[in-house]
């Protein structure tokens, strides 16, 4: 593990423990009761899912323009995090929905476009894994579609009929809900940055292995 990892991991773990304590102390929501506490991990992971989609899309677009391997590594790393945080959001969401809405899933615009975004991330990873030479550019093109879907996922609840809460809920959070929520957002953001750096580091090491093989063949 790189030298910076231990410090960041300790800070991240401390933030998560603090977030969990504040989540436990947070009041129950009037209509949803206990199950609303899923919100404190569901929404930050959904935000990280969208952030990963944007990072992957921007670095892919820049990679297609100037072919820098650094940007390709960043895109690949963020695609993996997109799938990870997307899976968390897509699993915790239905667990919350089952109690609050009475159904596990609804084919409304927010949920459907989120699933589509996650599937684009999975497709990106499959292309990188199995499509062979040239898969980097093919996957970069796919990432652009994934990024175009991100604003659609975010604003869809404000424009289409849905029972998913609108985006106005988070800015209007009272302090008792806001403190654990933003603490959780900070923990997830730090975790996202740490995992992204670690995944990029893995790709750098793989590139080093490739160059070592080349020098051995020469």
């Amino acid at each position: 593990m790189p030298s910076w990892f231990t410090r960041t991991a300790v800070a991240c773990a401390a933030l998560f423990i603090a977030a969990l304590v504040f989540v436990a102390l947070a009041p129950y929501e009037k209509d949803m009761g206990l199950v609303q506490k899923i919100f404190y991990f569901h929404t930050p992971s959904a935000w990280m899912f969208l952030t990963a989609g944007v990072v992957c899309g921007i670095s892919s677009a820049r990679y297609l323009a100037n072919h820098s391997p650094k940007l390709d590594r960043l895109a690949w790393a963020s695609a993996e995090l997109l799938v990870l945080f997307g899976a968390i959001a897509l699993v915790t969401g239905p667990l919350w929905a089952r109690k609050t809405w009475g159904v596990w899933w609804q084919w409304d615009v927010r949920l459907t476009s989120s699933l589509l975004g996650w599937m684009i991330g999975v497709a990106y990873l499959l292309v990188r894994r199995y499509a062979g030479p040239g898969s980097d550019k093919l996957a970069a093109g796919l990432a652009l579609f994934g990024m175009a879907n991100v604003p659609f996922i975010y604003i869809s609840v404000n424009y289409w009929r849905t029972i998913h809460p609108p985006t106005s809920v988070v800015p209007k959070l009272p302090l008792s809900f806001g403190v654990p929520f933003y603490l959780s957002v900070t923990a997830f953001t730090l975790l996202f940055v740490m995992l992204l750096r670690l995944r990029v580091h893995l790709e750098e090491q793989r590139a080093r292995v490739d160059s070592l093989y080349l020098s051995l063949d020469e």
Binding site: Q36, V91, V169, F177, S215
Partner: protein, 119 residues
């Protein structure tokens, strides 16, 4: 001819005197005779108003969970938090394994290069 038109007028009078169309019913529904409208009216009345379907605008705090909601919610919350922790731990473990394998490759290749005298 005259008898049939008198019969039709009488039938129309009877139909119109039974009741007027429901207020707020669509135009297509209002042209139906009232006996045919009854099921439609009942259906319209059974639908919740649009304001009842509105999603919540903000969260509101209460001091404790309503008693009827205590048991079913707990397994969902525990499952959600457990899944988050497991997924993150599994990913971190997979990253550590992949990094370990790559590090091993690097040290093996570097020692091989040194043996061949090409550092």
């Amino acid at each position: 001819m005259a008898a049939s038109s008198v019969g039709l007028s009488a039938a129309l009078f009877v139909v119109m005197s039974i009741g007027s169309p429901a207020a707020g019913a669509p135009a297509a529904v209002q042209v139906l005779p009232p006996p045919l409208m009854l099921p439609v009216r009942a259906e319209l009345q059974s639908q919740p108003s649009p304001s009842a379907q509105k999603p919540p605008e903000e969260f509101e705090a209460i001091s404790e969970i309503p008693p009827d909601e205590r048991m079913p919610a707990a397994p969902m919350v525990v499952a959600a938090y457990a899944f988050v922790m497991l997924a993150l731990f599994a990913y971190l473990l997979s990253l550590a394994r992949r990094l370990g394998a790559v590090k091993q490759d690097i040290s093996r290749l570097e020692s091989e290069l040194k043996r061949n005298g090409r550092t």
